[in-house]
């Protein structure tokens, strides 16, 4: 045949397919908070596990075969490789299906995606992590990254508020940080119905009274529901934070994770490629961002 068309190129969908989920086994399911379980996953193929290197703040696409796919932040730190931890809130089809699964079941995973926190930029500076409610999930990776590389960061402060102690993600783990002297771990709950809580009680912004923060040498990473942004951002600006040193993790609908499907587009940025970590300056420039 007089043709210049080359041999089949469909091999590409086999070898370099960015949409290809890889089998991962659920090695542990930990019921942290009602409908907020921590799933520990390990890739079945060790090579894939080794080549999967994420930055704090990045996310993965989690597949439940036959049900669908959803973006989930990676809650574990790259400084603790081998397994990935996903803190998943039961919210819809995919997450419901995940909650039906048991230890040893297989799911699909691909990634890591997104920009993640600019850790190399943050290194050498103080770090303030401020989270409300479920916002702790994406920040936890950064927290452990900083603690595991303690010498590369200045002062590390965590402020985390939940409604009640029972709603606090990673509670035991975080409570155990309160006594650490190389960081300031401030935990608060809005109310303490069982009167068991030994830490702060009160709204999240109140924690600023217990923290020593020098805005000129600090990066702030903020994540939480809209009210958290509202109050924390105001506080940070009052303290004199530079707008491009306030980092936020955003949620959008996502179908591909790699800048094709269009769903996570915010004006002229893709949450999956240019985000999910955006600075406050981005937020001012991007309409409909928060």
């Amino acid at each position: 045949m007089p043709s210049a068309i080359e041999a089949p190129v469909t091999d590409a969908v086999w070898s370099a397919n960015p949409y290809q989920p890889h089998a991962a086994r659920i090695v542990r399911i930990y019921n942290m908070v009602e409908n907020n379980h921590l799933f520990t996953l390990r890739f079945v193929d060790e090579d894939i596990g080794l080549s999967f290197r994420h930055r704090p703040g990045q996310f993965a696409m989690l597949s439940i075969p036959g049900t669908g796919e959803a973006p989930i932040s990676i809650s574990s730190s790259p400084s603790r490789p081998g397994v990935l931890e996903l803190c998943v809130r039961r919210a819809g089809r995919v997450t419901n299906a995940l909650y039906r699964m048991k230890t040893n079941d297989l799911v699909g995973l691909r990634g890591p995606y997104g920009n993640g926190f600019p850790v190399t930029e943050i290194e050498g500076h103080d770090l303030l992590l401020a989270a409300g409610g479920l916002g702790m999930a994406p920040l936890r990776s950064l927290l452990w990254y900083a603690l595991d590389n303690r010498d590369r960061f200045g002062r590390v402060t965590l402020m985390y508020g939940a409604r009640t102690p029972a709603d606090m993600l990673f509670r035991e783990e975080l409570v155990s940080l309160v006594d650490r002297t190389d960081m300031n771990c401030l935990l608060t709950v809005d109310t303490d119905p069982g009167s068991v809580w030994k830490n702060h009680v009160g709204l999240l912004p109140g924690l600023f009274d217990h923290a020593e923060i020098d805005a000129s040498r600090t990066f702030a990473a903020v994540c939480g529901p809209p009210v958290v942004y509202k109050f924390i951002l105001r506080k940070l600006l009052d303290l004199g934070f530079r707008k491009d040193r306030i980092l936020m993790s955003l949620e959008r609908r996502m179908k591909c994770g790699v800048g094709k499907c269009g769903h996570c587009s915010i004006g002229y940025k893709y949450t999956c490629l240019n985000g999910p970590i955006f600075t406050y300056w981005d937020a001012i420039n991007l309409p409909e961002m928060i």
């Binding site: 043709s3 590409a12 969908v13 075969p65 499907c261």
Partner: protein, 344 residues
């Protein structure tokens, strides 16, 4: 670029030779409109069509496409269904070719889409000259002319087509016809130039796109959006017919009685309220006004920032397809504050 010419009355013969390179698809008439379809006879082809209902993007990013088959023991197995089919798109207009060049940027990049790429490699593009009608404004969008993205391109110069040979494959097709193609004479080039400038004058619509991104920023709160939001039916027609709208949804379908299934992607539209809806019910573009604004904003402003040019090629399809006559040219001109103008 290699430039040849072909006698118009030999086009049929050329088409018959070209068949050996793949399935020939060309515009045919369907219920008063036109659509690219596989030809059963060359005589079905309508090369002097205004525009097809769907753009040729359907060949590269099909309306519904299986990305993976899922089998419990094997996991997600990529589907290569139809990716190797050699198709010849005969008679694409410049704006449509341009739109593929735009999609190339989206489906390339750091994460090339292997499905799109495979099809792009396998589908042959033969372009053809066209005459603008009342909805065309490709010239304003700088998409009335393409310098790459085709294998062959035919310009009408009277008794002949002046033929641009864009690729080695295009050249093979030319060679396969034996001595059918001829060397153009100087007069042919003159005729091309004459017709080219006539075509320029034939455009009935003109939009100024310089500083449009800035104007979008300035008019972000404009009342126009509410007005359009009230009118828009959210039918999605404009997105479906747009050669550069690429939003898609992904869903797993399950086979009856097993956990087998398929992961499908299906065209989607930012005009639908589900587009920016996230779990838990939060919707970043809840109002119809915010959605229609987003469509225009993304094309004329967002895409410029991402890829350096608007993602509109001025094909006029969305204008022709909108049941409530929402007209992008009119919107752009109203944003600029000038009346709908018809040049010359």
């Amino acid at each position: 670029m290699k430039i040849l010419k072909l006698r118009k009355d030999r086009l049929d013969f050329f088409a018959s030779v070209v068949q050996q390179f793949g399935e020939v698809h060309a515009p045919v008439e369907v219920d008063g409109g036109y659509a690219f379809r596989r030809l059963s006879r060359w005589s079905e082809a309508r090369l002097n069509y205004p525009r097809t209902i769907l753009p040729p993007k359907k060949y590269f990013l099909p309306q519904r496409e299986t990305l993976f088959r899922f089998v419990p023991e094997k996991g997600y197995v990529p589907s290569a269904e139809g990716l190797d089919t050699r198709i010849i798109l005969f008679g694409m207009h410049a704006c449509d070719i341009y739109s593929l060049n735009i999609l190339d940027m989206v489906f390339g990049g750091a994460y090339p889409d292997p499905y799109y790429q495979a099809r792009r490699k396998h589908i042959v593009i033969i372009g053809i000259d066209c005459i603008p009608d009342k909805h065309c404004f490709c010239r304003s969008m700088r998409a009335d002319f393409v310098d790459h993205g085709f294998d062959l391109f035919f310009y009408d110069i009277g008794d002949y087509y002046l033929t641009m040979v864009g690729t080695a494959l295009g050249d093979d097709m030319v060679l396969a016809t034996g001595p059918l193609f001829e060397q153009p004479a100087e007069a042919d080039v003159d005729e091309y130039k004459r017709r080219s400038s006539n075509k320029r004058a034939a455009f009935q619509l003109e939009v100024e796109i310089r500083d449009l991104p800035e104007i979008f920023e300035m008019e972000y709160q404009s009342g126009i959006w509410d007005e359009l939001g009230e009118k828009c039916l959210s039918c999605g027609s404009c997105s479906m017919v747009c050669p550069t709208c690429y939003c898609y949804d992904v869903a797993d379908s399950a086979d009856l009685g097993t956990r087998d299934g398929a992961r499908m992607r299906i065209w989607d539209s930012c005009l639908f309220s589900t587009h920016a809806l996230v779990a838990g019910g939060e919707n970043f573009r809840h109002s119809r006004a915010s959605r229609i604004k987003f469509r225009f904003y993304h094309k004329q402003r967002g895409f410029v920032a991402e890829y350096g040019r608007p993602s509109c090629v001025g094909c006029g399809r969305c204008v022709a397809a909108c049941p409530v006559k929402i007209d992008i040219v009119e919107v752009l001109e109203r944003l600029r504050g000038v009346q709908h103008a018809v040049s010359h």
